[in-house]
C-alpha cells in the first residue's frame, strides 16, 4: 500500500470539503473493498477520508412505507434490523448473506453502492426495489445511479448519506455464488412493488446491474414462477470468465429468477 494522508472528519459537510481539497481523495467507509485494492497497489489516493466519524450517516428508520438506511450502516446492521426485516425481509436476508461475518461487521451499504462492483448484491436490491440514493447534495433514483462497471452517477467529491427503499409486497433475492470469491456469479432480485414487478440482475452483466424487461412484463400480470416459463435472457452482453461463460450465466438468470419469484411467495 502506498502511504496517504488520513483524514477523519466529523460531519458529511467536512468530509465533502476534505474530498474537494484533496488532489486524489478516496472516501473510506467500511474499507472492505478499498483497502484490499490499495494493498495491491491498484489505487494510490493522496487522501483517504474516513467517514466513521460522521455521526449523521448511521441509523435505520422505517416510515411511510419505506425504510431508510444510513450510508455507514453495516451489512450486519441491516441484516439484523427489525425495521428492515419488517418492511423488506428479502433485503435483510440479502445483507445477511454478503461476504462473511467479518465483512458484514465492517462493510457498509454506502460503500457497496458507491463502489458498484458488478458482482455486488446491493445494486440488484436497489434497482429491483426502486431505491432512492440520497447524497450530500441530491437524490438519485437507483435506475440512474448505477452507470457502469465500478461507475456511478456520483461526482468525485459526492458522498452518499442514505438509501431509501420503498417496501415491496413481494420480494426475494437468489444468489448463485462464484465458487472462489463467493461474490455473486449471478444474483437475481425480484420485487413486486407499487410500480409493478421488477427483476434486477447482478454478477452477469458486462456493465453491471441490469433489469430484465421481458421478465418484468411476464410477471406484471401474474407474479408467479410459471409466468417466467419461456422467458430467457440473451447471453449477449453478459460476462464470460473462467468461472462461467455468458451462456451459462444467461441460463442461471432464468433459473434464479424463477426461484426468486417462487421464494417471494
Amino acid at each position: 500500500m502506498y502511504d496517504f494522508n488520513y483524514q477523519k472528519p466529523s460531519s458529511v459537510a467536512d468530509a465533502v470539503n476534505a474530498m474537494k481539497a484533496a488532489s486524489d481523495g478516496k472516501v473510506l467507509a467500511g474499507g472492505q473493498t478499498l483497502l484490499p485494492t490499495m494493498k495491491q497497489r491498484l489505487a494510490s489516493p493522496s487522501d483517504v477520508v474516513d467517514l466513521a466519524g460522521c455521526g449523521d450517516l448511521s441509523g435505520i428508520s422505517a416510515s411511510g412505507g419505506s425504510v431508510t438506511i444510513g450510508a455507514m450502516c453495516t451489512h450486519a446492521a441491516v441484516a439484523g434490523s427489525s425495521d428492515v426485516k419488517g418492511a423488506i425481509p428479502a433485503l435483510a436476508a440479502m445483507a445477511g448473506d454478503i461476504g462473511d461475518p467479518a465483512v458484514r461487521a465492517r462493510g457498509t451499504i454506502g460503500g457497496s453502492i458507491a463502489n458498484n462492483d458488478p458482482a455486488a448484491d446491493y445494486p440488484a436490491a436497489c434497482v429491483a426495489l426502486g431505491a432512492t440514493i440520497k447524497t450530500d447534495r441530491r437524490e438519485i433514483s437507483a435506475d440512474d445511479f448505477f452507470t457502469g462497471l465500478f461507475d456511478t452517477a456520483l461526482a468525485e467529491d459526492e458522498i452518499i448519506v442514505s438509501v431509501s427503499f420503498p417496501a415491496a409486497s413481494k420480494a426475494a433475492y437468489e444468489k448463485f455464488k462464484q465458487p472462489a470469491s463467493r461474490f455473486a456469479l449471478v444474483g437475481v432480485f425480484v420485487a413486486q412493488g407499487s410500480g409493478g414487478a421488477r427483476v434486477a440482475v447482478t454478477g452477469a452483466g458486462e456493465n453491471g446491474v441490469f433489469r430484465v424487461s421481458a421478465m418484468e412484463s411476464a410477471l406484471s400480470g401474474n407474479f408467479s414462477a410459471g409466468a417466467l416459463d419461456g422467458a430467457s435472457v440473451s447471453a449477449d452482453g453478459l460476462n464470460s470468465d473462467i468461472h462461467a461463460q455468458a451462456d451459462y450465466r444467461a441460463h442461471l438468470v432464468g433459473v434464479l429468477a424463477k426461484r426468486a419469484v417462487a421464494a417471494a411467495g
Binding site: Y2, R41, F176, P179, A180, S181, H243, Q245, Y248, H251
Partner: protein, 788 residues
C-alpha cells in the same frame, strides 16, 4: 496424565501436546521471528511467462529511502538449484536437467520467476524501491499448454532442444499390446488430472542470517525437511559446508508437500545475508505464493483397460504427459514415474501393465509433489477407468472390484509394476465402507431426491498407495540422489525425563504427541516426561524430513530403534546394579526386574546411575544414556482402503453437493486414532476440493488466472459434510510398529469416488464423464452435451 486420561500409550486418542501454544497465539512460525538488526526483502518477479532480460537498471532503487542493497542474477553467481531424483528415459539417456538459477540469468521462464531482491529497513520501503527497478525485457512466445509443449515448436530451454525432460516407461509394451488384442472388452479414456495449488495456510517465509564472527549462516525457513534444505542449498547452490550452515524450521503452518522443496528464496536470503551481514526476512504474500509455490498434479493421460468376458482385468496401458513447469523442482521427476506409474496395479490382480511417461517443460510454475504426489493421479486414473468399465460391461461397481481384488491371502504380492505389497485386506475395507455408507438405503434416498428434482449418485474408489519410499539402496538404483532413511536420538536425562530428537518434521501432524506416545509406551514413563525436538539442524543429528506419509513408518520406527538401544543399555546397567546377568533382566512398566525375583530398578534410577556412575559397569559400558538410530526400511508401506461418496446434483444449475462421504482406510496400526481421523478428514477435504472446486488456470500467455483466493476456490466449511471415517487394520509386515501411514490416504482415495458419484448421478441423462473440478458450469455443460 492429560485431562485425567488413564491411557496415553499406543492406541489412545491422547490430546495434542502442541495445541495449547497454537490456541493461545504462542506458536512460533517463521514470520513471528525477528532477528536483531533485521532487514526486509521484497523479491521482484517476472511479469512475463517467457522473456529475455536485456538489462536491469537498479540504480534508482539502490538510492531509494531505506534501501540497504539490491541484487540481481548478475550479482548472485552461485550453483543451480538441484533436482533430487534422476530419471532415465526408456532409451537409457538421463533426464534433461536445464539450469535452475535462484535469480534469473538472462531469461525468465514463468510469471513469478525471481529477477531481483530489494533489501530495505522496512518492507514498504523495499516494495517502494522495487518499483524503481527498470528491467528491459524482450517478451518471447510462451508455451503453456502441455499438448503445445509436446510439439516442441516453442522451447522453454533452448539449450536442451526439446521440452521433454524424459520419456520413461515401465512394463513390456509388446506383451501388453498382445493382451489387448485378445481381450473381450477394452475400456478407453482420456483423463486429465487437474493442476492444483497447495495453499498451506501459512505462506512461505525465510530469514537469512549471517554471523560475521563465526562465519556461520542460519536460515529460518518454512520447510518440511530442514536437513534436506541444508544439504541441497549448502552443497549444491551456495557452497556452504554443513558445519557453517544451520537451518531452522520452527512451527510450520501446513505443507502438503509444497514445503519439501528447496526454493530460490531460501538461497537468495541466505546468500544476501552474507553479503550485507545483516538478517533478511522475506515472507510471501498469498498472491506471491500462488505464482511461486510448486503446483501439484497436472497430468494428461490416455488409459486403456482390457477385460475378459467375466470382467477380469487382463491388462492396462497408459500414456501420460506430466507437466514439470519451467524447471525441475526437488522431487518433480519422481512423481509421475516412481510414485504414479508404479501404483497402477492398484488393489487389483491386473497381470500386465505398461505405462509411458513424458515429463514436459512449460512456461509455468514448477510442478512437484502435493499431498499424495503421483498416487492420487494413479488412483484417479484407475478408479475412473474401472467405473467406466463396469458401466460399459454392465457389471455392478462393487462386483467388478471384488472380481479383481488381490485376495487377502495373496500377500506378499508382487505387482507387474515393480512394487511388492506386504499386506492388505481390500475386501475388509470395502465391506466395512458399504455398511458405514449405508449403501443398502441408497435406492430409497435416490428416489426421495428425485422427488425434489435432484439427481443422487453413489461413487466408489478402492485404492492403494505407497508410503515411506524405501529402501535407500533401491531408491538409489532408481535415481534418487538421497537416502530415504530417518534418524532419531533418544536422550535420557539424568533424572529420567527424555528428549527425542527426530529428523521428521511436524507441520500439523502432531508428532510431538504421537512420538511422545511411542516413547512413553516403550519406556513406561509418563508422557509428560517426553519432549519431542525437531526442525533444527543445530539440534537434531540428521533427518530426511516429512513427506510421503513417512513420519511414523520411517521416523517413528527410528525412534523405536533408538529406544530399543536405550533399553538394551539400561538392562546392562540394571543388571550390574542388581548383580544379575543382563539376559535375566526383564523390562516392563518402566521397571527393570531380575526375572523371577522382586529385585527391581525403576527407569529413573537406571538413568541416574548412567549419569552418576558410581556403581557402574565401566569396563563394559560408557556412562550416559543417549542413543541414536538410523532406520532404513525394507520396503514401502501400502495403506489402502475404500471411499464411498454420495452426491446430489441440481440438474438446473449443475451444483454438486457432497451429502455423505465415507472413508474406511487401512493405515496399519493406529497409534493415536484422534490424529489419524484428523489426517483423513483433511486429506478427504483436499480430495473433494480437487474433484469439485480447485483448478489452476493459465491464459495462453502464461498469466495465472487463478492467482488468488478470489479465483482459486478453496474448500470452505459449508462445501463439505461431516465425514464418516473408520479404519481396518492389517499390519505392515516389515516394521515393528506395523504402521503404514495416514497423511495422504484421504487425498488419494477421494477424488475418483466423488467424480464416480457425479457420473452415477447423471448416468441416466447420458453423461459418461465429468472433468475435475466438477464446478457447476462444468457439470451443467456435461448435461447439455449429453442432451444434444
Amino acid at each position: 496424565m492429560p485431562d485425567g486420561a488413564t491411557n496415553t500409550g499406543i492406541g489412545a486418542s491422547v490430546k495434542r501436546v502442541e495445541d495449547k501454544r497454537f490456541l493461545t497465539g504462542k506458536g512460533n512460525y517463521v514470520d513471528d521471528i525477528n532477528r536483531p538488526g533485521q532487514t526486509y526483502a521484497y523479491i521482484l518477479r517476472s511479469p512475463h511467462a517467457h522473456a529475455k532480460i536485456n538489462s536491469i537498471d537498479t540504480s534508482a532503487a539502490k538510492s531509494a529511502s531505506g534501501v540497504v542493497a539490491v541484487f540481481t542474477g548478475e550479482d548472485m553467481q552461485v550453483g543451480s538449484i538441484p533436482c533430487g531424483w534422476q530419471v532415465d528415459s526408456a532409451d537409457g539417456t538421463p533426464m534433461r536437467e536445464p539450469g535452475h538459477p535462484a535469480l534469473a540469468q538472462g531469461k525468465v521462464r514463468y510469471v513469478g520467476d525471481q529477477v531481483a531482491i530489494v533489501i530495505a529497513d522496512t518492507l514498504d520501503q523495499a516494495k517502494d524501491a522495487a518499483e524503481k527497478i527498470n528491467v528491459d525485457y524482450t517478451p518471447l512466445k510462451a508455451v503453456v499448454d502441455l499438448r503445445d509443449a509436446l510439439a516442441d515448436t516453442t522451447l522453454v530451454h533452448d539449450e536442451i532442444e526439446t521440452n521433454i525432460s524424459y520419456d520413461w516407461a515401465i512394463g513390456d509394451k509388446a506383451e501388453v499390446d498382445a493382451v489387448f488384442d485378445g481381450a473381450a472388452h477394452v475400456t478407453k479414456m482420456d483423463i486429465v488430472n487437474n493442476r492444483l495449488i497447495p495453499n498451506a495456510m501459512e505462506p512461505r517465509a525465510a530469514i537469512g542470517d549471517f554471523d560475521r564472527a563465526s562465519g556461520e549462516y542460519t536460515l529460518y525457513t518454512t520447510t518440511q525437511n530442514p536437513h534436506v534444505i541444508r544439504l541441497l542449498m549448502g552443497a549444491f547452490v551456495l557452497s556452504i559446508p554443513e558445519h557453517k550452515l544451520r537451518v531452522v524450521a520452527p512451527d510450520v503452518g501446513g505443507g502438503f508437500g509444497s514445503k519439501i522443496f528447496h526454493y530460490a528464496e531460501e538461497a537468495i536470503t541466505t546468500w544476501a545475508a552474507g553479503q550485507i551481514a545483516r538478517p533478511i526476512k522475506w515472507t510471501a504474500e498469498r498472491s506471491e505464493s500462488f505464482i511461486t509455490d510448486a503446483h501439484g498434479r497436472d497430468h494428461l493421460s490416455h488409459a486403456e483397460l482390457a477385460l475378459d468376458a467375466n470382467g477380469k482385468f487382463l491388462g492396462l496401458r497408459v500414456e501420460t504427459a506430466a507437466n514439470m513447469g519451467a524447471y525441475l523442482s526437488t522431487f518433480a521427476s519422481a512423481v509421475p514415474t516412481y510414485l504414479h506409474a508404479t501404483l497402477l496395479a492398484g488393489v487389483y490382480t491386473t497381470p500386465v501393465i505398461y505405462c509411458n511417461i513424458k515429463a514436459v517443460f512449460t512456461n509455468t510454475v514448477p510442478v512437484d509433489a502435493y499431498r499424495g504426489a503421483g498416487r492420487p493421479e494413479a488412483s484417479y486414473l484407475l478408479e475412473r477407468l474401472v467405473d467406466r468399465a463396469a458401466r460399459e460391461t454392465g457389471l455392478d461397481q462393487v462386483d467388478i472390484r471384488r472380481r479383481n481384488f488381490i485376495p487377502s491371502d495373496a500377500f506378499p504380492y508382487q505387482t507387474p509394476v515393480a512394487l511388492a505389497y506386504d499386506s492388505g485386506d481390500y475386501e475388509a475395507t470395502l465391506s466395512s465402507a458399504l455398511k458405514l455408507a449405508e449403501v443398502d438405503g441408497f435406492a430409497a434416498r435416490k428416489a426421495e431426491a428425485a422427488g425434489r428434482g435432484k439427481k443422487r449418485g453413489l461413487g466408489y474408489s478402492t485404492y492403494i498407495e505407497a508410503c515411506g519410499v524405501a529402501p535407500s539402496a533401491v531408491a538409489g538404483a532408481l535415481g534418487a540422489r538421497a537416502g530415504l532413511y530417518e534418524s532419531a536420538e533418544v536422550r535420557v536425562h539424568p533424572t529420567g525425563s527424555v528428549t527425542v530428537f527426530t529428523g521428521s518434521h511436524s507441520h500439523g501432524q502432531g508428532h510431538e504427541t504421537t512420538f511422545a506416545q511411542l516413547v512413553s509406551d516403550q519406556l513406561g514413563i509418563p508422557i509428560e516426561n517426553v519432549d519431542i525436538s525437531h526442525g533444527d539442524t543445530g539440534k537434531v543429528q540428521f533427518g530426511m524430513g516429512t513427506y510421503g506419509s513417512r513420519s511414523l513408518a520411517v521416523g517413528g520406527e527410528a525412534i523405536v530403534k533408538a529406544t530399543d538401544k536405550i533399553i538394551s543399555k539400561a538392562k546392562k546397567i540394571a543388571a550390574h546394579v542388581l548383580e544379575a546377568s543382563a539376559e535375566d533382566i526383564e523390562f516392563a512398566g518402566g521397571n527393570f526386574t531380575v526375572a523371577g525375583t522382586d529385585r527391581s530398578m525403576a527407569f529413573g534410577e537406571v538413568a541416574l546411575t548412567a549419569y552418576v556412575p558410581h556403581n557402574f559397569p565401566h569396563e563394559e559400558l560408557e556412562p550416559g544414556l543417549d542413543e541414536t538410530a538410523f532406520y532404513d526400511p525394507a520396503n514401502f508401506t501400502f495403506p489402502g482402503g475404500c471411499h464411498i461418496c454420495e452426491v446430489e446434483v441440481d440438474p438446473d444449475t449443475g451444483t454438486v453437493e457432497v451429502v455423505s462421504f465415507t472413508a474406511v482406510d487401512d493405515v496399519g496400526r493406529v497409534i493415536n486414532p484422534m490424529i489419524v481421523e484428523g489426517q483423513v478428514h483433511g486429506g478427504v477435504a483436499q480430495g473433494i476440493g480437487q474433484a469439485l472446486l480447485e483448478g489452476c488456470s493459465y491464459d495462453e500467455d502464461g498469466q495465472l488466472l487463478t492467482g488468488s483466493f478470489m479465483d482459486y476456490a478453496m474448500p470452505r466449511a459449508h462445501n463439505l459434510p461431516s465425514f464418516k471415517v473408520a479404519t481396518e487394520e492389517t499390519l505392515c509386515a516389515h516394521n515393528s510398529l506395523g504402521v503404514k501411514g495416514c497423511g495422504e490416504v484421504g487425498a488419494i482415495g477421494s477424488p475418483p469416488a466423488v467424480i464416480n458419484a457425479v457420473v452415477d448421478a447423471l448416468a441416466d441423462m447420458g453423461v459418461t464423464d465429468v472433468a475435475m473440478p466438477a464446478t457447476p458450469q462444468t457439470v451443467w455443460r456435461a448435461i447439455q452435451t449429453a442432451k444434444s
